[in-house]
């Protein structure tokens, strides 16, 4: 099974880095990219990737709201929230299968998550 992802981040430098990193180092197919919360909801619900990566803050909209919307729309894949500050948003425990990766850790925290998933 090919693992696929939609990546949403308003900073194109970091969004493209994640995309290249996932494709080149992990063989994960980047099926969609988004630069704000609204686009993220659209892409995730339309493309139904294996998992989604969303930036916490990407106006208009934010990652948490986007995850709430796609969950309401029936998307059940794991969602990774990329946060600028360590521990930001760690309280949203009502959302299932949401994982926080701090930008502070660089790609190493994402690598740990992917290793855990066997991807």
């Amino acid at each position: 099974m090919t693992v696929s992802v939609v990546i949403a981040d308003d900073d194109p430098q970091i969004r493209d880095m994640w995309a290249d990193w996932l494709e080149l180092l992990r063989g994960i197919k980047v099926v969609g990219r988004a630069s704000n919360g609204e686009e993220a909801i659209e892409r995730i619900l339309e493309l139904r990737p294996t998992f989604a990566m969303v930036d916490r803050s990407m106006p208009p909209g934010d990652g948490i709201t986007a995850i709430r919307s796609v969950r309401a729309g029936g998307y059940t894949g794991p969602c990774i929230v990329i946060s600028g500050e360590d521990g930001e948003g760690a309280d949203e425990s009502d959302l299932a299968d949401v994982h926080y990766v701090s930008k502070a850790s660089g790609p190493s925290a994402l690598a740990t998550f992917l290793d855990g998933m066997g991807w």
Binding site: D11, Q13, W21, L24, G84, D86, A104, G106, P107
Partner: protein, 410 residues
């Protein structure tokens, strides 16, 4: 004119012209040359005396510090003119009916109540030390704006002239705002730097993987350059982390967010590998000895930051060709991790000041670059885990930093 039987409380509300008093006081002061000191040691001068009253009204009133006199049950008795000015009230001001606490910001009332209880000698609380203790509170002035006031109190219930408490207030709004501004600036700077640092590290992963794949003979400068770039990016990542944590500690918002079972030996090995280039540049050899033992439940990113900061310090303040030894041993109270270097060392005064944010010793500045944030943050992280960090050092001999980390952290 007040009689000599007045208590101190009566003198705190300025209701009269004191010119005559002042003249009398000056005369009296001249007569009692050379030392017009007013205090418990000088029984000649009591609050009711003209000389003392002159001091309280004029001298205390002229200071930027306001004083409030509370009776033994905590009720308001009077305030100096400086206190009235500080809050923008006219002479003879009295607090609202609900008491002084009504003027304190709701978020700071608990702080004020606890401080007063300590001042009153509540046996359940730590005793108040009037020489060193103070609390910062937001207090509402006549315009309805809150000002940050630093409050210090003295229990003078046993003094018949006071029969209560004297609480002094200094307006520290500019200091508090400067600290808040610094925290906000650190936070914004750190936040903005995170994305480019993460991008560099991710791109370096890609570059290294690509170089491995091409299998052509590259000049050795290529992988060496990649390694140096990674070392610099990791150093920047540490600095950004320290900036962010320092800001969070300043504003009391520092929390540990992850709790993981961590293999310390693996973590130490990783951090040493990340520091290899920096150690190499200084020709410092890092060795480690880890006794097998249980895993610890910690925030692995933060404890990684502790190990990286202490290793980096040991390398940066090491001598060219020096050695750094890291040891980790399971003890009864937890893991004991030691960082022993043979570097420039510190004198006792420097060791005592190490936790101060932005403090850097002169010798340290001459020896290596640094921000003076890392140590305070490192100590804060260890303490947030319920651990301790101790430093022993000798000038020109080296430094040993010992971290004691409980197995199950608080």
């Amino acid at each position: 004119m007040n009689s000599g039987e007045d208590t101190l409380s009566g003198t705190f509300v300025r209701t009269e012209d004191l010119t005559e008093e002042q003249e009398a006081a000056v005369e009296s002061a001249n007569e009692s040359e050379p030392d017009p000191y007013v205090g418990p040691a000088n029984s000649e001068l009591r609050a009711g005396d003209h000389n003392a009253r002159y001091l309280y009204e004029t001298a205390l009133g002229a200071l930027p510090t306001g004083v409030i006199h509370l009776c033994a049950d905590g009720a308001f008795l009077g305030a100096t003119s400086a206190m009235e000015r500080m809050l923008g009230h006219p002479p003879g001001w009295e607090p609202p009916e609900g008491g002084l606490l009504e003027l304190v910001h709701p978020d700071d009332q608990e702080v004020g109540i606890t401080a007063l209880a300590r001042l009153a000698g509540d046996p359940a609380l730590e005793p108040w030390d009037s020489t060193t203790d103070s609390v910062d509170l937001r207090v509402r002035n006549a315009d309805g704006d809150y000002r940050w006031l630093e409050a210090r109190g003295t229990d003078l219930r046993q003094d018949p002239q006071v029969a209560g408490y004297l609480v002094s207030f200094t307006d520290v709004t500019s200091r508090v705002e400067a600290t808040q501004y610094r925290s906000q600036f650190f936070r914004t700077a750190a936040h903005e730097l995170r994305a480019p640092v993460a991008t560099m590290l991710g791109r370096l992963d890609i570059l290294e993987a690509t170089l491995e794949k091409v299998k052509v003979d590259l000049p050795t400068t290529v992988p060496a350059t990649v390694a140096h770039l990674r070392s610099s990016a990791l150093r920047m990542q540490r600095l950004v982390g320290d900036l962010m944590d320092s800001a969070r500690m300043d504003s009391g918002e520092f929390n540990l967010v992850r709790r993981e079972n961590v293999d310390l030996a693996a973590l130490i090995t990783k951090e040493i590998a990340d520091l290899a280039v920096e150690a190499g540049e200084r020709n410092v050899t890092i060795t480690k000895r880890v006794t097998p033992g249980p895993k610890v439940t910690v925030d692995s990113v933060r404890i990684g930051q502790v190990i990286a900061n202490l290793l980096s310090n040991a390398c940066r303040y090491g001598k060219n060709g020096g050695a750094v030894m890291v040891t980790a041993d399971p003890t009864r109270d937890g893991w004991c991790i030691r960082f022993v270097d043979t570097g420039i060392g510190m004198d006792a005064e420097t060791v005592a000041r190490l936790g101060e944010p932005l403090f850097r010793a002169e010798r340290a500045k001459e020896h290596a670059v640094g921000t003076g944030l890392g140590f305070a943050v490192t100590k804060g992280i260890v303490e947030a885990h319920g651990g301790t960090l101790t430093v022993e050092s000798e000038l020109d001999r080296g430094t040993t930093v010992t971290v004691l980390l409980p197995y199950e952290t608080a």
